[in-house]
């Protein structure tokens, strides 16, 4: 049975429907990321799970019990905020101890648990510091320890890395994942950064316009995006339009007939279909790459050091491909004819 069940919840602020019919089942110990652009409703769903917002529709069940109407303080769900939200008047020790004190844990047990949590985040030497005496990364680790100290049933992370610089973001996200694995705690992580979501999640929920566009493992989301939105939001993608010749998987791109690896659903012969190709799936002027090729014209080239980015016009569509730089390689000239080589199975059929 699923540990956390979000059943058809919705949230409206007046006429503004922020979350629409959102459902998700999460297993115990799973690490789920909500990924989407600003305003897609991901934080609102998280806040409803935390109990800070009441759903306008639907239910939330935790370990079989309906917690939809339970106040946040009685849910035993830990939360880490984007802005750390450490209590400025308390030391690191007191911040981490706060939840335990509220729960009425004995003083000696509090000290033991706080020490354990501070060791977990490698900050046991900073127990007497105040939040303002620490860096952003340290504060967020303390916030994580504070949320974990009372042994919550679920851990919610609301864009916890957004306020940190790039280097700390990478190291802290690895640390968060390692701690989550060690404790086996069910976790929901909200982010707008696809790399973050892809790198640490068991499953990703890609959200758009208050709905879940696709739910799946990171590799599924990246390799088999279900919709045009998911395809364009997760990674860089080249889109190309084709005409369906046979719904079993034959299309025409420009003048070239291509056989796809999968049938085309909901499209009949003569209709248009959107296809997507990842930049790493195509190669320019390398005939040994893949089983299919399309003619094109070089539109622009960019020398980026280790990589050369070549933009092609293929059947009226701009497509961008990277190739590794080699000292003796020649940059193609703008206007040169070029052939795009790829494997037909890498062409993704994208639902609009």
């Amino acid at each position: 049975m699923n540990f956390l069940r979000i059943a058809a919840i919705g949230k409206s602020f007046g006429q503004n429907h922020v979350v629409k019919d959102f459902s998700l089942d999460i297993d115990k110990g799973e690490f789920i990321s909500f990924l989407g652009p600003s305003g897609c409703g991901k934080t609102t769903v998280l806040r409803m799970v935390a109990g800070f917002e009441a759903p306008s529709a639907g239910r939330i069940l935790l370990d079989g019990a309906d917690i939809t109407g339970v106040p946040s303080r009685q849910r035993n769900i830990g939360m880490v905020f984007q802005a750390y939200a450490l209590f400025p008047n308390m030391t690191v020790f007191d911040n981490v101890a706060f939840g335990l004190k509220v729960a009425g844990v004995a003083k000696s047990d509090i000290a033991t648990r706080v020490d354990e949590m501070l060791r977990l985040i490698n900050l046991e030497h900073l127990a007497d510091r105040y939040p303002y005496q620490m860096s952003g990364g340290q504060q967020q680790r303390v916030a994580l320890a504070r949320a974990l100290a009372p042994r919550p049933r679920v851990l919610l992370l609301d864009e916890p890395l957004s306020a940190l610089d790039a280097k700390i973001r990478v190291s802290l996200r690895e640390e968060i994942r390692a701690i989550q694995r060690k404790l086996g705690i069910t976790t929901i992580f909200v982010t707008h950064d696809q790399e973050e979501a892809l790198s640490i999640s068991d499953r990703i929920v890609v959200m758009n316009g208050g709905r879940a566009e696709q739910i799946g493992a990171p590799s599924d989301i990246y390799n088999r995006p279900a919709t045009r939105f998911v395809a364009s939001f997760v990674g860089t993608l080249n889109m190309i339009e084709a005409e369906v010749l046979d719904p079993n998987g034959t299309v025409r791109i420009g003048e070239t007939v291509v056989s796809l690896a999968e049938p085309i659903v909901h499209r009949g012969p003569g209709e248009k279909v959107s296809l997507a190709l990842r930049p790493e799936a195509g190669a320019v002027d390398r005939a040994e790459h893949g089983d299919t090729s399309l003619p094109g014209t070089v539109v622009s080239t960019q020398f980026l050091g280790s990589v050369i980015r070549v933009k092609l016009d293929v059947a009226g569509h701009r497509m961008s491909f990277d190739r590794f730089n080699a000292p003796d390689s020649r940059l193609p000239n703008i206007g040169d004819p070029a052939r795009l080589h790829f494997a037909a199975r890498d062409l993704l059929v994208v639902q609009d």
Partner: protein, 275 residues
């Protein structure tokens, strides 16, 4: 381009300083001339030796402290709640808090006397305790603009909504959140408001006089009519007290948790730990 000497600004500052300091110095010098032909602190000794001085000062101090506590208990939860749950009401609350600056104290006190006089349903003015209570409430009202602004500024610095959510996610009730998280984090703001309240209500005249209370303000006026040197000494002492209040306010307002009152005891900020 090299900037010239800011002549006009310096002149304005000197003039403004002179306008303020010369009368103060003159008052101070006059207060030292009680004994003919020599400088002495006789006027100060006379004031401090007076039982009435001590009685009225302690009465006003107690009334002021009570007003501070009552004001903080009203203002802090109100601003917290408005900022957290009713942000649309903020302009209205701000307007209400400024009313005491517009309505003269004399109007306020006559309103009290009419509302709580001997013919009213709640005749507070018929007893000492009742009248004292009215005086304290009056002080709370008079200091409302200052207390409100100080606490409101204090709350704008901390993200009370997120701190409240953080406390609640850790199991804290609303009351515990206010007591353990919100109050300590606006303590310096409350203290600033408290010193302002204290300096306003300590020498307040209109309310105390019309409610016929043995307060410090009416005593200052009374002694000003009867004596020559003591009022000057009292004026200097009151200034000193007010300035002490301002200094304390400044110290508390800039003090961070975990630091002593002197800045050299502050910790250095931590450097980023390599993870």
């Amino acid at each position: 381009m090299k900037k010239g000497f800011p002549f006009a600004s310096v002149m304005i500052a000197i003039l403004a300083g002179a306008y303020f300091l010369i009368p103060l110095y003159a008052t101070f010098q006059f207060s030292l001339q009680m004994v003919r032909g020599e400088w002495s602190l006789a006027a100060y000794r006379a004031v401090l030796g007076s039982n009435v001085f001590l009685a009225t000062l302690s009465f006003s101090a107690i009334a002021s402290f009570t007003a501070i506590v009552l004001g903080a208990l009203i203002v802090v939860p109100t601003i917290y709640w408005v900022r957290l749950k009713l942000p649309r009401l903020r302009p209205l609350i701000e307007f209400l808090s400024l009313l005491p600056l517009i309505i003269p104290p004399v109007v306020l006190v006559f309103g009290y006397i009419r509302l709580f006089g001997s013919n009213s349903l709640l005749p507070l003015t018929t007893s000492d305790v009742g009248t004292n209570a009215l005086l304290v409430v009056g002080y709370v009202v008079l200091s409302l603009p200052y207390m409100f602004r100080a606490v409101d500024n204090g709350m704008s610095v901390i993200d009370i909504a997120t701190l409240t959510e953080a406390a609640e996610s850790l199991g804290a009730s609303r009351l515990r959140t206010i007591v353990s998280v919100i109050f300590p984090n606006v303590r310096s703001a409350i203290v600033s408001g408290a010193f302002l309240t204290f300096s306003i209500s300590l020498g307040e005249f209109v309310l105390a006089s019309l409610l016929n209370r043995p307060a410090f303000g009416p005593y200052l006026v009374q002694i000003g009519q009867d004596r020559a040197y003591e009022p000057a000494a009292l004026a200097v002492m009151t200034f000193a007290l007010t300035w002490a209040c301002m200094l304390m306010m400044q110290i508390f307002a800039t003090k961070k948790p975990g630091t002593r009152l002197l800045p050299r005891f502050r910790f250095r900020p931590a450097k980023e730990m390599p993870a």
